[in-house]
């Protein structure tokens, strides 16, 4: 399995104001960190890369194909089958056990709904939350929940991993261990990874770091605001 190729060029997304994100090109198998101050648009960048949001301006492409050119169903299917996402707010379902939460992306794919549960158990063990497999997310600490969210992103063996502050709630030791888990998973499988982080001590683990500071004033072309909207 080879990693996905991601390209962003002059991309911007309009909430109330237009949020511009830096130009970016991720080669298959690359692991890139993204840093920048709060509110600069890092989460927006990940949503654009995943096709959750479609740029109002500029172009975001996945494997050379612009998200904009794909139908909503195809964007969704690709996300479900090929992308693992660690959301900033985790988005775990309270009524499912930890294990079911992790298996959810697989359960939503009819052809993989009956997948073996061993890889998931192994994943939970590796993240240090194997003992909580049958608990509800509510009964976990913030850091434990974060690790569950990471396991869910990896459960479907994705070609692209997008992680929004995946170590934000962890102590330095655990953060390092969990990031190693993420990176070793990605590298073993040749997957591509883009991770937002505030943890400057961990940046040396990545192949490359891009900073939002570079984008300020970079003046991406405006005016081409044809398609857009949330996926």
């Amino acid at each position: 399995m080879n990693g996905a190729r991601i390209e962003l060029k002059g991309a911007a997304y309009r909430y109330d104001a237009l949020v511009r994100v830096p130009d970016l090109s991720l080669a298959p198998g690359e692991a890139v960190a993204c840093i920048g101050p709060s509110g600069c648009g890092k989460s927006t960048l990940l949503d654009l890369a995943a096709g959750i949001k479609v740029a109002h301006d500029g172009e975001v492409s996945y494997d050379g194909e612009p998200w904009r050119a794909l139908a909503e169903t195809d964007r969704r299917r690709r996300r479900l089958h090929e992308i693992g996402f660690v959301f900033q707010e985790f988005e775990l379902l309270d009524h499912l056990t930890v294990k079911e939460n992790v298996a959810l992306p697989l359960m939503l794919q009819p052809e993989r709904a009956d997948a073996e549960s061993e890889p998931i158990a192994a994943l939970l063990d590796a993240a240090g939350v194997g003992a909580f497999a049958t608990r509800r997310p509510r009964h976990l600490s913030h850091g434990e929940r974060q690790r569950v969210a990471i396991c869910r992103a990896l459960a479907g063996t994705p070609r692209l991993v997008l992680a929004d502050e995946p170590t934000g709630s962890l102590d330095p030791d655990t953060a390092r261990r969990v990031l190693d888990l993420l990176l070793s998973f990605v590298r073993d499988r040749g997957a591509t990874m883009l991770a937002v982080t505030h943890d400057h001590g961990l940046l040396d683990r990545f192949d490359r770091v891009i900073s939002f500071d570079q984008v300020s004033g970079s003046g991406a072309p405006a005016g081409n605001e044809t398609a857009g909207g949330t996926a």
Partner: protein, 381 residues
């Protein structure tokens, strides 16, 4: 589908209060119509069966319904009274057998039915324990009455005082229970049977007291009768010793009956009897199946209104469920958004939530149906 089921089930099990409210609401809506449907069905079948088993019923002119309800089921208002003379008249035609019924008083809340052994033979009533009530002061209980009162042979059963302000008319009598009938699944199970004479005494047509006339007990002496004061206690229980003191003040032909079961010897005699009654000024002869069909007609007419009401409540509930589904989308936006972000299709999400609603509604419907059956069974027992 498996995924939708699992997610739906997990959500229902986790948000218990929400689930219980939904299931309970549907169950309550379903329960009553089912219970009523079963009850109306069972009762109407029982009514019809009894009517089919009773060829004709005769009585005084008056309400058809009162006469049939009294003669067959010992229920409803007491019909206009007929008399032994009417019974004799039917028998005298030679067309039919006639069985007298006096069902006016009550004992422990159950109808007290005075009749003759012919009745027990005709209805196939068999004493499961003890004997038939052939002697003055004896009573035999229907199966349900014996069970509900936990009464056995050798106990006594008191008659009810129907009019507290008219103690002279009739008074509480204690009857000896000499038998308990085997259950029949008919109105007979819920009645107390006595000999016709006993029924007359309970009704106040006859009584027994010490015949001693002393200065102490006589209120006034008239040429043809002696009036006693209240010191002459009427006997409240008929015993072999005081049996002889009971007597009737009315001539035998005038002794009252509430209805007469008429069993024609053949079809032709039934037709002839009907012809006679058509010109009668005092009596009427009814075919119970016809009258019961009329009564059921009313019942089903009322039931149609009830059914319409049920349909409206059902429609309102369905609308509420739609409302719940719409509100769910708002209340559970976060959950839906998470599924969307993971890549679930609109259809997959709708199926998860639809399954959840369907499971809750089916559980409610099944519970409601079971509840309806339980209510029905409790009512019938």
């Amino acid at each position: 589908m498996k995924t939708a089921l699992l997610l739906a089930w997990r959500s229902l099990a986790y948000y218990k209060v929400r689930t219980l409210l939904l299931v309970g609401c549907v169950a309550l809506v379903v329960l009553l119509p089912i219970a009523v449907q079963l009850l109306v069905g069972a009762q109407s079948r029982a009514l019809q069966a009894r009517a089919q088993a009773t060829p004709l019923v005769a009585g005084a002119k008056g309400s058809r319904y009162d006469l049939v309800l009294n003669g067959l089921y010992f229920r409803g208002r007491t019909p206009a009274l007929t008399s032994m003379a009417e019974l004799d008249a039917v028998r005298a035609t030679g067309f039919a057998e006639a069985i007298p019924i006096l069902a006016r008083a009550r004992a422990r809340g159950r109808p007290l039915v005075g009749t003759t052994p012919d009745y027990y033979r005709f209805r196939g009533l068999r004493a499961a324990r003890g004997t038939l009530p052939l002697i003055l002061g004896d009573a035999a209980l229907g199966a349900d009455v014996a069970r509900e009162l936990n009464a056995k042979v050798g106990d006594t059963i008191g008659t009810d005082q129907p009019n507290l302000y008219d103690l002279g008319l009739n008074y509480t009598m204690n009857l000896s229970i000499v038998g308990v009938f085997a259950p029949t699944g008919t109105a007979d199970d819920n009645a107390v049977f006595v000999d016709l004479k006993t029924a007359w005494i309970v009704d106040g047509v006859g009584h027994g007291h010490d015949p001693k006339a002393t200065d102490d007990t006589v209120l006034k002496r008239e040429p043809d009768r002696i009036v006693f004061n209240e010191k002459v206690r009427k006997h409240e229980r008929i015993t072999p010793k005081n049996l002889r003191t009971f007597h009737f003040h009315a001539p035998p032909a005038e002794l009252p009956l509430t209805s007469i079961l008429v069993l024609p010897h053949e079809d032709k005699s039934a037709t002839k009897l009907k012809g006679r009654y058509r010109v009668s000024k005092t009596g009427q002869l009814l075919v119970p199946t016809g009258v019961v069909a009329e009564i059921l007609g009313f019942v089903f007419q009322v039931k149609r209104f009830f059914d319409a009401h049920v349909a409206l409540v059902g429609a309102a509930t369905a609308l509420f469920l739609v409302l719940i589904a719409l509100l769910t989308v708002r209340v559970r936006r976060r959950e839906i958004e998470a599924l969307r972000r993971l890549g679930a299709s609109r259809f997959a999400i709708a199926r998860i939530f639809g399954t959840e609603l369907a499971l809750a509604v089916s559980a409610g419907a099944i519970l409601g149906a079971l509840g309806g059956v339980v209510v029905f069974l409790l009512w019938m027992s």
